[in-house]
Amino acid sequence: MTQRGSGEAGSELDELYQSLILDHNRAPRNFRPLENANRHAEGRNPLCGDVYEIWLRLDGDVIAEATFQGQGCAISKASASMMTQAVKGRTVAEARALFDRFHELVIGAGSQGSGVGASTPLPAKLEVFRGVSAFPIRVKCATLSWHAMKAALDGKTE
């Protein structure tokens, strides 16, 4: 880490901007339109201007591919990047459950999961977003692409 502030704020900041997040911000994965997508949605935060497009290709009940494009802060971009990785290969129900788990994580809530949710834990690397809970104003940044993914699943077809 750097020699940034040693106080509480400094460590909260280190929690927020972990190197994995900075890496996905610099080099977002699956950052492209998906030509043969059959689900598509846009996520827009009108308050800050962040905007992402999400493309999904559903193969039956399974998300065969997930991509995104757009612009926004490091938190929103890294979150979108890691979301596309997390939902790929999952069933629609699992992806929805992941949305719930991720939301709980970034608002700092305990898992409320039941049913499919309880049996669909978050991939360990998404834990890097736990630091967002110390900055409630940034929760929307972290969840923007996840909401768009859910909207795409909810039937916005292209």
Partner: protein, 424 residues
């Protein structure tokens, strides 16, 4: 930008040194400035969003509720008379502050409400299909969207007054747009993003020659310049109390008397009528015509305390102090690697927008927040201007009467921390 210190703004400006402004004394009047944020002393550089409140304002509101609360213009009882007197006295104060007549000051909920009032009531009355409204590209959404709404309703069109690469209004472009169908020119006095001060006198002179009226968004100029509305000769001027060290929920609209007289009510209700029958009503003269319902009386009282407070200032010294602050800030910020200041700002209030290479403004804002530094990150309700400059948003630092050079140094040091976080 380097010329900023040497180029005097067109608004009245002091020849006196910035040392004439006693910033420590002013800071002592603002209780919130002594608090800490995230374990560090608050560095409040978001004054363009809202200013902090001096004790005089906070106490005036408390005093009003503890010993003066009643409705205005209604009761025959003593308390109501006191409240009415207090309310109308603030109108008088505001008129004095802006050098206009009392009957030309309408209390509104804020700048947004004031601009919507003009757009709906004045615009809605005079605009015909094919008429033109000229709106600058540097407007806050609140001086653009109301015009789009009324244009849609009346069949008028909104034309864009361009902004130059330097971040100034393109006056030649403005002149070319002015035509026989121009009815309204809506322009900000000072940009909430660039800080750029627009030459309202010149704009008003050109618009008036064509018979158009000029509507000025004064939200960002009123706190920084000693605005003389007679001198700048606009037809309407809107501002907010809360950016002028007063409470939220109160602002005002200045309108030239002759224009206010010809405007229909905006909202109907109590307090704005002359006589009401079941089939028709007649309306009170301005300004009451535009103040339907129980007004925000405590907020008006608070605004009055704010105006009284700032009337006690040596404005020449304050303007000199803020101009010096912004020049110092520009000098220091220009040395930050990868940082670009939006607009050249030869003529600006103490509001600065910057963008950082490869670092989104929100991320920078969060790092600064962790250091107790409050700045604004985002599009600042000026998306067309963001598009003009090809940026998703900016990081904005805006100063006020209590801002110190040490706080600007904290900001610059904080930006160093931002760079470190994102260099990992």
């Amino acid at each position: 930008m380097t010329q900023l210190a040497a180029v005097p703004p067109r608004e009245p400006r002091t020849g006196r040194s910035a040392a004439a402004w006693n910033v420590a004394k002013v800071r002592a009047d603002f209780p919130i400035l002594s608090r800490e944020v995230r374990g560090r002393p608050l560095v409040y550089l978001d004054n363009a969003a809202t200013a902090q409140k001096p004790r005089a304002v906070i106490e005036a509101i408390t005093r009003y509720y503890e010993s003066g609360n009643a409705n205005v213009h209604r009761g025959v009882h003593a308390l109501s008379q006191e409240a009415t007197d207090a309310y109308e006295r603030v109108r008088e104060l505001a008129a004095r502050f802006f050098n206009v007549s009392q009957g030309e000051i309408v209390f509104t909920a804020g700048t947004t409400a004031a601009l919507n009032l003009v757009a709906q009531s004045y615009g809605g009355t005079v605009l015909r299909p094919g008429d033109e409204i000229l709106v600058s590209e540097m407007e806050h959404h609140s001086n653009l969207v109301p015009w789009q709404l009324v244009a849609e309703r009346t069949g008028a069109s909104v034309l864009t007054i361009p902004v130059s690469d330097e971040g100034a209004l393109d006056l030649a472009g403005f002149e070319r747009l002015l035509g026989p169908r121009t009815r309204i020119v809506a322009v900000t006095h000072a940009s909430n993003v660039l800080g750029a001060i627009n030459p309202i006198n010149a704009i008003a002179a050109m618009a008036h020659e064509r018979g158009a009226v000029v509507v000025v968004d004064g939200a960002q100029s009123a706190p920084h310049l000693r605005v003389d509305l007679r001198a700048i000769d606009c037809d309407f001027f809107a501002c907010s109390g809360h950016k002028l060290y007063g409470p939220t929920g109160i602002g005002l609209l200045f309108g030239k008397r002759a224009l206010l007289e010809q405007m229909p009510p905006w909202q109907g209700g109590g307090g704005m009528i002359a006589e009401v029958r079941m089939d028709r009503s007649t309306y009170a003269p301005p300004p009451e015509r535009f103040e339907a319902g129980t007004p925000p009386i405590a907020e008006v009282v608070g605004l009055g305390a704010a105006i009284e407070y700032v009337l006690g200032w040596d404005w020449e010294a304050l303007v000199g102090y803020e101009q010096n602050l912004v020049a110092e800030a520009v000098q220091r910020l220009e040395k930050v690697p990868g940082l670009r200041i939006l607009g050249e700002g030869a003529d600006r209030v103490s509001v600065l927008s910057v963008v950082l290479d490869g670092i989104h403004p929100h991320d920078a804002g969060t790092v600064l927040d962790s250091l107790g530094i409050a700045v604004r990150a985002g599009h600042h309700c000026a998306q067309p201007l963001m598009r003009r400059f090809g940026v998703p948003g900016t990081l904005r630092a805006s100063f006020g009467a209590y801002t110190t050079l040490a706080e600007i140094e904290a900001l610059v040091a904080g930006l160093g921390e931002v760079a470190k976080v994102f260099a990992r």
